[in-house]
């Protein structure tokens, strides 16, 4: 059988595995060869090796008789801030470069139990702080569509390049969706707590959620079904059963009422290309007979600022365990506190040092009320605006990012707070609402994107609209800059 994973859906791979049309050994060899090649070209992995892939193959062979494995043999990439007990989990930080967790994240166990094959741990910005480049201890990830551009994350690059069918990565102010938009893949950030956060090394606990990257809606639906199982002893997860996503996709709702915030074109660094594409898509939606309304959300445009205020303070606190005592890098110091400073100053990137200093500043008594506390109140306001908008509309629509994959030569952002890439994405993190980034393909141009935000717990609506658009828009997918099929 042709192992062109880029054109195979998870369901097809699992069926081929069950039908013995693909042998596990062949699958393992192909994946290792392609991973090696992709790594050389894109620098998308932090950890991957033949031994682990061989181990995964052995595990999957044992799974073969089990007919209930919906993800049997499905290649999975995992962002390196999600814990695995058999591979290092570095968060792309020098401080964490040797960290080997004695446990595995719940999401990884869930996917593996369903037969998924973990290829390796992917590169990201240090502790997933944005995806504008410059902070990974393992250098930046190149975009498979254009090697001169950033991919945003190794997870998105792995899915885009056809290496992985699914990937998991986290989303704090939109990183998952931004990287998906740069790489032209689907991204689903579920409702906060829908998927377990156990084993995620989070930088901002109240904002950050593990999400799914994939190339088609049905793959996302299958993965979400496996992952969205309530965890009774974890107060940071939702205690509700997930609906049957796959059967909801079979007869999708087609009369969506879609709202577009009037401030959509006020983003800084908004590229004309993105603007024109978005306007064109609005017309296309109209042609499909979908009702599109413009709505005023007074504080949607402030979401990124507000999320940055909150994220910095939570990061200041969440990363305080990185002290060189129980794990991680350690420098010498004349005394304990000096050891801390030496260790953290050398263990963290310049970008991260500045970010947590910023969080330290805005949480001092002097700024606590005017920044952090105020930020938390604005968060309430932004959530309420979204809530009331989505009480009258099914979905909120924006571009995912104001610009396409930034080139390494002329990065759009990365220096200033807040990261301009988060203009559209941060509101979903503040409110905990689910959001989906949908890729748009153009011949000879980088992929574009749309972002949909749904009310809390309504991931199904996101999958349904994506499925609808998939049928209408995604007939042509141009060739990658990097082709792994021949490898």
């Amino acid at each position: 059988m042709d192992l062109d994973f880029a054109n195979l859906m998870a369901e097809q791979i699992a069926a081929a595995m069950k039908g013995k049309k693909i042998s596990p050994a062949e699958l393992g060899d192909t994946l290792f060869r392609r991973s090696t090649r992709a790594q050389k070209e894109l620098n998308l992995f932090i950890s991957f090796d033949q031994k682990h892939i061989a181990g995964e193959i052995k595990r999957i062979e044992q799974h073969l008789p089990d007919k209930n494995c919906s993800l049997l043999g499905v290649p999975l990439a995992l962002a390196d801030n999600i814990a695995t007990d058999d591979q290092k989990t570095t968060c792309a930080s020098r401080f964490m470069a040797a960290y080997q967790p004695p446990f595995t994240a719940r999401v990884v166990s869930q996917l593996k139990e369903n037969g998924a094959l973990l290829i390796g741990k992917t590169n990201l910005e240090e502790f997933n702080l944005g995806c504008s480049g410059g902070s990974s201890f393992f250098n930046s990830v190149k975009n498979p569509w254009d090697l001169e551009c950033s991919a945003g994350s190794g997870a998105a690059a792995a899915v885009a390049s056809g290496l992985a069918t699914l990937a998991l990565a986290s989303d704090t102010r939109g990183e998952l969706r931004q990287a998906a938009s740069y790489c032209g893949v689907l991204a689903l950030k579920p409702t906060y707590g829908r998927i377990s956060r156990k084993g995620l090394i989070d930088i901002a606990s109240s904002l950050e959620q593990i999400g799914i990257l994939g190339r088609c809606t049905s793959d996302l639906a299958i993965a979400l079904q496996v992952l969205a199982v309530p965890e009774p002893d974890n107060p940071s997860t939702l205690q509700i059963e997930a609906p049957p996503y796959a059967s909801l996709l079979e007869k999708p709702e087609e009369n969506f009422k879609i709202a577009v915030p009037t401030c959509w074109n006020e983003a800084s660094h908004l590229q004309d290309e993105v603007k024109n594409d978005f306007q064109e898509q609005l017309e296309n939606l109209d042609k499909l007979g979908l009702e599109v309304n413009f709505v005023t959300l007074p504080h949607f445009k402030d979401a990124s600022l507000v999320a940055t205020m909150i994220c910095a303070v939570e990061a200041f606190s969440n990363l305080s365990n990185m002290d060189g005592v129980r794990f991680g890098h350690r420098e010498t110091g004349k005394h304990l506190q000096e050891m801390y400073i030496e260790t953290r100053s050398r263990g963290f990137s310049s970008k991260l040092k500045k970010f947590i200093t910023f969080g330290g500043l805005t949480s001092t008594p002097k700024y606590y009320d005017t920044f952090f506390r105020r930020g938390q109140k604005l968060r309430t306001l932004i959530s309420r605006e979204l809530e009331s908008c989505l009480a009258e509309n099914d979905l909120l629509l924006t571009p995912t990012t104001p610009f396409k994959a930034p080139s390494f030569a002329a990065p759009v952002s990365g220096k200033e707070f807040p990261d301009p890439a988060g203009y559209y994405t941060a509101a979903a993190n503040l409110s905990g609402f689910p959001a989906l980034s949908f890729p748009l393909f153009y011949e000879g141009r980088l992929p574009g994107n749309l972002q949909f935000i749904a009310p809390r717990k309504h991931e199904a609506a996101l999958l349904q609209i994506a499925s609808l658009l998939e049928k209408e828009f995604s007939s042509h997918r141009p060739k990658f800059a990097l082709s792994l099929q021949e490898v």
Binding site: T191, G193, V306, T308, L336, I356, K377
Partner: protein
Amino acid sequence: MQVSPEELNNAALDARVELSATETKELLREVQSFFNLTKKLQEVDLEGIAATSYGHQEPNILRDDLIRSSLPLEESLANAPAVDESCFLVPRIIEE
């Protein structure tokens, strides 16, 4: 709102990181521009608006007081840069 380099360096110290002169300068500029961006937000009337501190509004969950297994000692110590017998080792506490 004007931020001084001292304030920034104190915050860095509280975060137990040391910023180089360049980093301090860059951060000062970035923070100042952030503060300018938030000027309008400082005027938003937030009277009576509660602060959101959590990712969702679900109620807290309680756990029964039942012992679950802890990590084996080797695993607890496995990632530590310095250990002594069954303890983690840290440099002297007193600063002079």
